[in-house]
């Protein structure tokens, strides 16, 4: 029996071309409209604040760098006041809020908040409410529908967090230029480059996967939060430093650099143990021990032939590290998205 006898006009009316992605995209965007507006307002307010502060801070910092000679008391005071006003911890202008420290710590929460809130309900809501029985029985088919449902929000999130990174970088530039903060440090690295977008993508993919697995939005959000924090901590404290073999630096003042470990060598080249270092510091002359300046200590140590060695990940490796982290996060997100599609394809009703 040929298919054309099913219904009058049924055969020729069917185009073999599947439902176009643009139509599926409309469906996905319409269903996520509230989230897009809510998330957009949240990020928009944050972005506007950072833009305003970026202008103020960059101007203030320009005044610091323009001050000559840099060693003059006037210039030192200017630099100190910049730091206390905008970095945080001091009494800055009201608009600076808690300072850059607070802004950057708020930014740390963005990937997991956006990812969990956007990602967890994507499929879990359909499974919870039974609307998957509608969605998966339409002409587009469930695989194309699932791909559109997952991939489009992921692209929007990556674009939005990429834009936030660009603004944050501008906002944060004085502190990086200042040498106060290395962009390799765990407090800055995940907020710069591709990291913020990549971590957001991972959180979203993880939440969508767990939402499909549990068929429930709230447990998926909760477990995403826990797993994300564990993974982000593990990356910051243990995984990231292994992207490349550390470099070794010698010298008492290497500026702001990401130090993995450090040790002191005695004049005879022996590495000092912690207890040896403690007893040495107690034997220092009182003038050095009581000096308010940390330079007094390093000067004394240098004069007596002690050397400080540091195992570091230098700033020059920033992009190498960003791309390494971006690559494995992107890969993991890809696996999670593929896993989600696999779950949906095999899932019964």
């Amino acid at each position: 029996m040929t298919a054309r006898t099913i219904a009058p006009g049924a055969g020729p009316a069917i185009r073999r071309r599947p439902v176009p992605w643009s139509k599926l995209a409309w469906v996905t965007l319409r269903q996520r409209r509230a989230l897009l507006i809510g998330g957009g307002i949240l990020l928009g307010v944050f972005a506007v604040y950072m833009v305003v502060m970026a202008v103020i801070q960059n101007n203030a910092y320009a005044a610091v760098t323009a001050c000559h000679p840099a060693a003059a008391l006037k210039c030192q005071q200017l630099a100190n006041s910049f730091s206390t006003s905008y970095w945080g911890g001091g009494a800055g202008p009201v608009i600076a809020g808690g300072g850059a420290q607070t802004v950057s710590s708020l930014l740390f929460a963005i990937p997991v908040l956006l990812g969990a809130f956007a990602g967890a309900p994507l499929l879990a809501r359909e499974l919870e409410s039974g609307t998957f029985r509608f969605a998966w029985t339409q002409g587009a088919g469930r695989t194309r529908w699932t791909i559109s449902t997952l991939v489009l929000p992921a692209i929007v999130l990556v674009a939005a967090t990429g834009a936030v990174t660009a603004i944050f970088w501008w906002y944060f530039r004085p502190f990086l230029a200042d040498g106060q903060v290395s962009e390799m440090l765990p407090l800055a690295f995940p907020l710069l480059g591709v990291a913020l977008a990549a971590w957001t993508l991972l959180a979203c993919s993880l939440a969508a996967f767990l939402g499909t697995l549990f068929r429930r939005t709230l447990p998926a959000m909760a477990v995403t939060l826990v797993l994300y924090i564990v993974l982000a901590m593990a990356t910051a404290l243990g995984i990231r430093e292994h992207y490349a073999a550390p470099a070794t630096l010698q010298g008492w003042n290497n500026g702001a650099v990401w130090v993995i470990s450090s040790w002191v060598k005695a004049p005879d080249g022996q590495v000092l143990s912690q207890s040896a270092l403690n007893s040495l510091s107690q034997q220092l002359p009182p003038s050095v021990q009581n000096s308010p300046s940390p330079d007094a200590f390093t000067t004394w140590m240098t004069q007596h032939g002690y050397t400080l060695w540091q195992s570091v990940q230098p700033d020059s490796r920033f992009w190498q590290f960003q791309l390494t982290e971006g690559a494995w996060l992107l890969g993991s997100s890809g696996v999670l998205i593929a896993g989600t599609i696999w779950l949906i394809r095999r899932r019964g009703a």
Partner: protein, 245 residues
């Protein structure tokens, strides 16, 4: 042509077999009533027919040999699941637009015309519609897809008597007017008695009787409800009409 054809079809969930050794031919051109008590396997059979679930055992084809869930089967099958799941937060107009964008075949004019006749406002949110209106909207969407087969799972369960009457009238009109084959399930036969032209009685995951209403009435010389009741009570496999006749 058979709109649903099963051979030794079985489905096992973790709690046990929901449907077992089900061999069944539902010919096209009918309003086929799938009747059985709750838990008889009606929903299982229908969800497999629309491609939502895969069988554990046996074979199932729709629309004359199509595998369920294939692009062609999806294109030509309109399905309204139990409780008519639709996106509650969307206005009716956007719900239509969603369905339109998820399908190759779509008759927007027909959908809007139907909703106008039913006095369902396009701006109203789906979640704010009455049960009857929601069921009618789901049916409208299924019909706007211009299906060859319309599958309705317990479409009347949540409706009041007037809404049931209206809904069935709409189904009959669609079947008669557009030559759509309809398969609908219910645990209450009484309400389908006047519209069904084909009857399948399912209990405990097995087909007890399957045949056209005309044949059944002629053979048994009793009312349809009485016939069904007899099979529901006894569940004697020996008395079932042979499939494929």
């Amino acid at each position: 042509m058979n709109v649903i054809e099963t051979r030794a079809l079985g489905k096992r969930y973790r709690r046990g077999w929901a449907l077992r050794d089900c061999t069944l031919d539902i010919p096209g051109g009918h309003i086929a009533a799938l009747v059985g008590p709750n838990g008889a396997g009606k929903t299982t059979l229908l969800t497999m027919a629309v491609g939502l679930t895969k069988p554990t055992a046996g074979a199932l084809t729709v629309l004359g040999g199509e595998p369920p869930g294939s692009p062609r089967a999806l294109d030509l099958t309109g399905f309204v699941a139990q409780d008519a799941p639709l996106y509650r937060n969307l206005p009716v107009a956007d719900m239509l637009h969603v369905a339109r964008n998820l399908n190759r075949r779509w008759d927007q004019r027909r959908a809007e015309h139907r909703l106008e006749q039913l006095e369902i406002p396009l701006r109203q949110k789906v979640g704010e519609l009455s049960g009857g209106q929601k069921a009618q909207l789901a049916l409208t969407i299924a019909l706007a897809r211009r299906p060859a087969l319309l599958v309705l799972d317990e479409p009347l369960a949540a409706l009041d008597p007037v809404a049931r009457e209206d809904f069935l009238a709409a189904v009959v009109a669609a079947a008669a007017g557009d030559g759509i084959s309809v398969v609908l399930s219910s645990h209450v036969l009484a309400e389908l008695e006047r519209v069904a032209t084909y009857l399948i009685v399912l209990t405990r995951g097995q087909v007890r009787v399957s045949g056209t209403v005309r044949e059944l009435l002629a053979t048994h010389g009793a009312g349809l409800e009485e016939i069904a009741l007899r099979y529901l009570r006894a569940g004697l496999p020996s008395s079932r009409t042979e499939a494929g006749q």
